[in-house]
């Protein structure tokens, strides 16, 4: 009998990271109806910055802080310089390609600066044990951050503005909401959450492609959960993490990607907008 508890705990930790990166995708999708394919690269840059700060200071927390700040700056720049010019275009494909281009550029820049060699990236706490402090930190952080994001959206004036700007930018403007600023804030918020996900996902080894698979599973989680539903996405991330850990342990690691595909096909054939997504088709 395989050690299901250990598999579940390992899966939960992976799932937390999928959930966090998925949440970043959802925030941006809700704000601008764009799936941000550059998300893993933005997070990667932040993780590498954290790595550099860690190396210089020998600590963990300053690096994390730098990563979060860098995430905010990168998110704002991306929205202002690359996404905003496309807003009036009404072309679904343009932002996809622009964010893909950004993904390539940022990954390449990371490779140029930090090389393709894997760099060891520390855990926040001791990583040993089935319920290691490091794993608990990852899971708790993600749950707390997700809760904070939900609270921000649901119960604060800023959250109301963000939602209004995302849902009906024209109307929101007429109500005194600075729509452009809200979209930027949405990207900033998402990039900060993404940077956190990057730092949490980086250990033990950081390399330019390390977040690619994390991103694929994060997107899978978001699609399963419903791209405009943060709660669904977070649940989707955790469930996917545990499920894939079981698949790897019980059936074989080569089946993990196929299993993710199977779950996705199953869910989408039953519910084309994910388990918790709203089926209100909104043409933008």
């Amino acid at each position: 009998m395989p050690d299901l508890l250990t598999l579940a705990m390992g899966g939960l930790t992976n799932g937390a990271v999928y959930a966090a990166l998925g949440l970043a995708l959802v925030i941006i999708f809700r704000a601008t109806r764009v799936v941000n394919f550059a998300q893993p690269a933005l997070a990667l840059v932040c993780a590498y910055l954290a790595f550099t700060v860690n190396r210089a200071t020998g600590g963990y927390w300053l690096g994390l802080l730098v990563a979060l700040v860098a995430g905010a700056v990168l998110g704002a720049l991306t929205e202002r310089l690359l996404i905003r010019p496309l807003r009036s275009r009404g072309n679904e494909l343009a932002p996809v390609i622009v964010t893909l281009g950004l993904l390539l550029v940022l990954q390449a820049v990371c490779g140029m600066i930090w090389s393709a060699e894997p760099r060891s990236f520390p855990y926040a706490f001791d990583f040993r044990g089935a319920f290691s402090p490091a794993s608990v930190f990852v899971v708790v952080t993600v749950v707390v951050v997700a809760g904070a994001v939900l609270l921000l959206f649901g119960a604060t004036p800023l959250g109301l503005r963000l939602r209004a700007a995302a849902l009906r930018p024209d109307v929101a403007g007429l109500l005194g909401v600075r729509v452009g600023l809200m979209l930027t804030i949405g990207w900033v918020l998402a990039a900060v959450v993404g940077a956190l996900a990057g730092v949490l996902a980086a250990p033990p080894f950081l390399s330019p492609t390390v977040l690619d698979t994390v991103f694929v599973y994060a997107l899978t989680a978001a699609v399963i959960g419903g791209l405009d539903n943060p709660v669904g996405t977070i649940l989707g991330g955790f469930v996917l993490g545990v499920a894939l850990s079981f698949v790897s342990g019980l059936l074989g690691p080569e089946l993990v990607t196929l299993a993710a595909l199977a779950v996705l096909v199953l869910v989408l054939s039953l519910r084309p907008h994910g388990l918790f997504g709203s089926s209100v088709a909104r043409r933008v």
Binding site: G111, A116, P122, F127, F205, T213, G249, P253, E254
Partner: protein, 431 residues
């Protein structure tokens, strides 16, 4: 115009014969002196400089280039400078075929040296054979390179995974008798060929075989299964990153097996670099010595820590040409490979041709930086024939526990390697 019309008609009537039936084209060297001038020789290679295999392998060509620069600064081989062209294939077989075709058809390289990877290089062997281009010192321990009849242009370099696993298996059988053995292996020929070697020696002791997928960095499920199988010894047929992941994951599970690592994943310098940060940081008192000490590994090139004369030479070259790159086993790999090739060029003589280069390899006169002899002869194109076994001590230094051994890839015995090998001074490549 006639040939144009002929072409159009031929295309439209495309193909009468079967696509898979290849006519028996007489394989043999063609364009004897392609890439050769009086003052230079152009060689090429395909390497994963980007993409999934770049971590760990992107520095091989840096080491090789350093040796070629050293040779060229010493006047070259028979007055010829070696022009080394590295093409990035991203570990993508399609691109491998494209860049190798470019090297052969457009750049017209004299030889392909050290093309890296089994999935990649296996796709160009037939092409190189058909084009009559020497394809030497392939950077992979697969068995396929040793096929003098089918692929007369191709020569291996590193010890193949099966030979090496036989030697490691022998060490386990003798040094750890009666212990239960688990295997963590990459789910490709690295793992399959390695397990074939283990099975020749310690099949009955193996209690669990866990594959890992290089695209999936989470090996917790695999280590969990190994722990549950009761394996006291874990043989790692892995690349360095996954050796490190396995060691860390075992520590995470509180699982303390005896790790036995094949040469491709036992680069202690690289492992130390990867694991260094877990000692210093954030409360986790997991020092590199605690993680690595006791690890058993295999090697076939001189150890970076040793005072072997070859190591001394490589350190000099490293310090002069690539001081910014950490001197790992991977870099030494590239250096040894380049040195071996330069040696073959010298052996081939002043009037360089492709046939003479192949003859130089088959002459059996190449004795290189490696700790065991090459198998090169008319009958065998296999590279190094064996390996030594080392352990890592509590100061993360390597200690040889089993002097170089040689064996074959079949059921032959494991025997001590001949103790004599040439020193750099005896080879006297330049100057």
């Amino acid at each position: 115009m006639r040939i144009l019309a002929l072409g159009v008609v031929a295309v439209l009537l495309a193909g009468c014969g079967g696509a898979g039936e290849s006519g028996d084209s007489a394989a043999g060297v063609r364009n004897e002196t392609a890439g050769v001038t009086d003052t230079s020789v152009l060689i090429g290679t395909h390497q994963p400089l980007t993409g999934p295999a770049a971590p760990g392998y992107a520095t091989i060509s840096k080491g090789a280039q350093a040796v070629y620069s050293y040779v060229n600064d010493g006047g070259g081989i028979h007055g010829r400078k070696i022009d080394y062209r590295v093409e990035d294939d991203g570990y993508n077989p399609t691109r491998t075929v494209e860049v190798v075709k470019k090297l052969v058809l457009q750049d017209k390289v004299f030889a392909l040296v050290g093309g890296l990877g089994t999935p990649t290089h296996s796709k160009v062997v037939d092409f190189l054979t058909a084009e009559g281009v020497p394809d030497v010192l392939v950077s992979s321990g697969a068995l396929a390179w040793d096929d003098p009849q089918g692929s007369p242009m191709t020569f291996g370099f590193q010890v193949d995974y099966t030979r090496e696993a036989k030697i490691l298996g022998t060490h386990i059988a003798e040094a750890m008798p009666g212990r239960k053995v688990g295997v963590l292996h990459q789910n490709d020929d690295v793992g399959r060929d390695g397990m074939a070697g283990l099975d020749r020696v310690i099949k009955d002791a193996i209690v669990s075989r866990q594959p890992y997928d290089p695209a999936n960095a989470d090996v917790l499920p695999q280590l969990t299964a190994l722990r549950q199988s009761g394996a006291e010894v874990v043989v790692c047929e892995c690349v360095p990153a996954f050796t490190a992941l396995a060691i860390l994951t075992a520590a995470r599970l509180g699982y303390k097996p005896q790790f036995v690592v094949s040469s491709i994943g036992a680069d202690v310098t690289t492992l130390t670099g990867l694991l260094a940060d877990f000692g210093k940081r954030a409360g986790a008192e997991v020092s590199v010595p605690a993680l690595l000490s006791g690890m058993v590994g295999a090697g076939y090139l001189p150890d970076v820590d040793s005072d072997d004369p070859w190591t001394t030479l490589f350190k000099e070259i490293h310090a002069k040409y690539i001081p910014d790159v950490a001197l790992t086993d991977t870099v030494v790999f590239g250096m040894a490979q380049a040195y071996t090739f330069a040696q073959a060029l010298k052996e081939a003589g002043r009037d360089l041709t492709r046939s003479k280069l192949l003859a130089a390899f088959e002459s059996g006169k190449l004795e290189g930086p490696g700790m065991t002899p090459f198998a090169f002869s008319g009958e065998s194109h296999a590279g190094y024939t064996g390996a030594y076994v080392f352990t890592v001590d509590s100061e993360v230094r390597t200690n040889v526990v089993r002097e170089p051994m040689v064996t074959d890839r079949g059921d032959g015995p494991v025997t001590p390697a001949p103790s004599s090998r040439k020193t750099p001074a005896e080879v006297a490549l330049v100057g």
